[in-house]
């Protein structure tokens, strides 16, 4: 399910984004935010936060910088060198998801 949604998002970002180009009031943009939510959060929570985000993306709200914020626990941490895609930044008992700009596949 998550996989399908992510594929749809990728399709949107590739082809349809021009129709709504440069309209998002936030960083990361709604589609990026949604993608990051679905990659890091549970399905329903991701869906919920995505909907909230889109509802807030209009001129009644200030917009600006709004990172995905998720709840999670880290267990069985293995210490090794990894390729960092997202930084989990602790913030008010939750973690902000911040993309690593230097991340390469």
């Amino acid at each position: 399910m998550k996989y399908i949604i992510l594929k749809l998002l990728a399709f949107y970002q590739k082809f349809l984004t021009l129709l709504s180009f440069g309209s998002c009031r936030y960083y990361p943009t709604c589609s990026q935010y949604s993608k990051q939510q679905f990659e890091t959060n549970s399905l329903f929570k991701a869906l919920y936060f995505t909907i909230i985000r889109i509802l807030k993306c209009n001129q009644l709200f200030d917009g600006g910088i709004d990172y995905p914020s998720i709840e999670c626990k880290f267990n069985n941490i293995k210490y090794k060198k990894i390729n960092v895609k997202y930084w989990y930044v602790p913030h008010k008992n939750r973690y902000l998801i911040i993309k690593n700009w230097d991340f390469k596949k």
């Binding site: 082809f15 180009f21 998002c24 960083y27 001129q59």
Partner: protein, 540 residues
Amino acid sequence: MNDKKNVNKQDTQKRIFMAMILSFIFFIAYDFLYMQPQQEYHDQQTQQTSTSIDGKKAAPQVASSSNSTAAPATKTTIAQDIISTIKTNKNIIQIDSLGRIAQVELLESQYIDENGKQIKLFSNDQLRPLEVRFSNRDINAQAFKVSVVASQSNIDATNGVQELVLTQKMSNNTLTKVLKIYPDGHYDVTINVSNGAEFFVTPGFRPDVIADMYADHGVLLKMNDGTLTIVEDEDLAKTVNFTGVKFASAFDRYYTTILYNFHKSLAISLMPDNNESPQIFIHAKDNIELTGYMGPKNYRDLSELNKDLTDAIEYGWFTFIAKPMFLMLQYIHDFVGNWGWTIVLITVLIKLILYPLAYKGMVSMNRLKELQPKIKELQDKYKGDPQKSGAKMMEFYKKEGVNPMGGCLPILLQIPVFFAIYRVLLNSIELKGAEWILWINDLAEMDPYYVLPILMGATMYIQQLITPNQIQDEMQKKLFQFLPVIFTFFFLWFPAGLTLYWFINNLFTVGQQYYVNTLFAKAKVQRHEEHLSHKHTKKD
């Protein structure tokens, strides 16, 4: 490294562009190569089959009934004689010698086909309304041989309710149908079988006036719990049984034949025909009372009979938005009296409601123009990294207290509104043949001279010209400027009503933007003058 990245980027954009063009070509090719031949094939078929012999006349099998044997195939003779003709204010109903409704001709002036003739609902070789089949093979065989006797051969029900009794005397039992026909064209029917045999009655196969790919056609059942079950044509592999059915409707794009009883829920079977299209059979024993309607899925006509029946108007999976949209359009239409102007008015209303929001956005956008040099600087600094530059830009906006973007929600909201209007234009019989001005004589069809789509494209282009935008990438910018052309092509074949909506929408966006631009220019001049006079006074 950087060079390579840039090349890659251009490459992707070229591919996006190609994909757009390809999908567009596919769209046209699909229409020409698939839809149109299908239409022609369909036309041919109806001509051919008009002479063919009736197919199987088997009753659906019911698991519970012990006496039902393998489906008997009874051949019947070709064209049945018309034994009774009923005229109401809205239609002419013909009854054939097997006690079925052979044809319904709609009398109201708006229901005409392309040749200017009044529309006839049913095609020749299909299952007819009020056909009765018995689960007992012998009785069933007889029922398709013995002729029915009608109490009257000509009935005029234009001034009041009239009664027609159809009697079919078979060796062991008698089948009677008592029809009460109302001036508005609907009827009550009570069907009686003297020996209590189990039988089935049908509202008939769906009307065959316009059944294409653009809208659903098949069978729709409303259940007691309020849910709808839709079985589309060529989509039923084997017989399926339902209980607790409020009404059963067989429908094409604009017309339906319905049987219902809101006091006693129905048990029905859907049986596939040779094309796996569903046929409705209502279960009955001894006797059954039903009400029937055969005609256009006109909202007012249906809601006059019963509010529940309006559910027979179905806009595909978008019904939940399309139906309120239709009701709103109908409400405005009552004041305006023309569907074209209704669409114009509703567009203006939507724009007015959203105006405060749009105004805020445009002012913000214009303020940004003054900050342009600084933005340019930022853009150059983070060229080729849209994410980083996006983040830096947001920081900058926050510092300056502006946010020029309109937001995703207003754009996403456009999509359901757009689709709702599209579905309403396709599915509502009320908008079929709805005129506007000059050359637009059917809002549900494409603009024959392509004027509206071109106007739409032009306004879209102007809108892009006068709206300040922030697209950094040159290639993307070109593609963006090309969008009006792509949109114009897409809209060429869309219903004129939809193009009208989009055109008016664009027109008002342009108007708003122009107004805000001039306001801003004035304010700037004023500030400049104040500034000058301030300097002046200082000097003095």
